[in-house]
């Protein structure tokens, strides 16, 4: 059902937790099941220095959050805020159709965390 990458990111998720003194906090939920992901970020030198997640969701949602934070760290703020569900899906080697909303949620949570950081920075 799932690719090896999904299984790996689900069994050993990267970046679990909450960034201390985060610059931005974001959340997104999957309207179909009500599950949700929270992402916190720290920005430095125009880049995403740190990104962490907490997910109440399925295995695909956990793997997606792990992947989206992995993709974001080290990228320029601009680049990171453009990471899409498609990018997450591609990096994960795809997800079953009913699970694509779970990847959308991860991308949405990251985008909202970065947007929050931008607002706070003024």
């Amino acid at each position: 059902m799932y690719s090896d990458v999904v299984v790996e990111h689900f069994t050993n998720p990267r970046n679990i937790g909450v960034v201390e003194n985060a610059d931005g906090r974001g959340q997104d939920s999957n309207p179909v099941c009500g599950d949700f992901t929270r992402i916190t970020v720290r920005l430095a030198d125009g880049k995403v220095a740190e990104a962490k997640f907490k997910t109440f969701g399925c295995s695909a949602a956990i793997a997606s959050a792990s992947m989206v934070t992995t993709l974001a760290v080290g990228k320029s703020i601009d680049h990171a805020s453009r990471i899409s569900a498609q990018d997450v899906l591609a990096a994960l080697g795809g997800l079953p159709l009913v699970k694509e909303g779970c990847a959308l949620m991860a991308a949405g949570a990251l985008r909202s965390a970065i947007a929050d950081a931008k607002v706070r920075a003024g």
Binding site: K54, T55, F56, G57
Partner: protein
Amino acid sequence: MRRIYLDHAATTPVDPRVAEAMAAVYRDAPGNPSSIHDEGRQARALMDTARERVAAAIGAEPSEIVFTSGGTEADNLAVRGTVAALRHKGDHVVTTAIEHHAVLDTVSELEREQNVRLTVLPVDRYGRVDPEDVREAITARTVLVSVMHANNEIGTIEPIAEIGRICRERNVVFHSDAVQTVGALEVDVRRLPVDLLSLNAHKFYGPKGVGALYVRKGTPFARIQTGGGQERDRRAGTENVAGIVAMGAALEIATRERAIESPRLARLRDLLLSGVRDAIDDVVVNGHPTERLPNNASLCVRGVQGESLIVALDLAGIAASSGAACTTGSLEPSHVLLAIGLSRELAQGSLRLTLGRATTDEDVDVVLGELPRIVSRLRAASPVA
């Protein structure tokens, strides 16, 4: 990796003795039971024996057994057949919020498309229907009451003897989906006031794709499938001879072994539940504490979403499920867990472990080793716990 299968409520593996009986039919009995030649008569004889076995297991007459393609068809036949047969007398159906979709979706389609009036009764927090609610729901227009014998998700056994008595008093046809109980509990229609009872072979170590509807003699009934006159004109279509023979063999074995097997399963299930309670904080055990199927353990783990739990267990070699197997493709929380009053979030964390013949003490130990580790790993990533 050795797999541990704990999803017997979804389906049971075919008993090797049953598989052999089934293979023998494919090998040696090629006839159509409606044919009059020797091959046909031989197939007919095999089917007759199977019908006698199924009937004997539930205390019925062979003529009261209608073979179907499984539990879903039996439920459809019971509900649609009764409503069609009694349309001139009334238009009201009473059922419960925790029925299988084979009943719930059927009655709501009848409501939408045929203006049938529907009363869906609530259940208490253990999943039990109050027979008095059934009494109050019945009106002069009521043609059918349908209440399952035991729930497939949470294992709660319903008071169908009492409900059946109320239906008798009010002269209303009573159907019970006994798919989860036949083979595991004593079900005897001589004592149980039911008119229609659904059975499914693959829940008692028979093959998938064959089931039966018990139809008490004299119950108003209309067929829903047109074609040949098989099953005394109650279910058209050439019979699944091998499946029917296998169903007869499987039910005979299950009935014979039940007195030892059901208490054995209940003991293992209790070990599992007490181990889980000891090792994991904040778990809710669903269903009735005593009135429950012997092999069912239904839990909700706070802070953890059910699918992630199932996938993690699967990767660890343990097959479990979250709610009903039939709806695992959907992301909606289970209608049963919502009906017993759980929040959406808690209902999202459901885990159903259903034990079976192959389950051993060692399997329970393995689960009790893996599950707490998995739960704490998932909780570490959860914003809730």
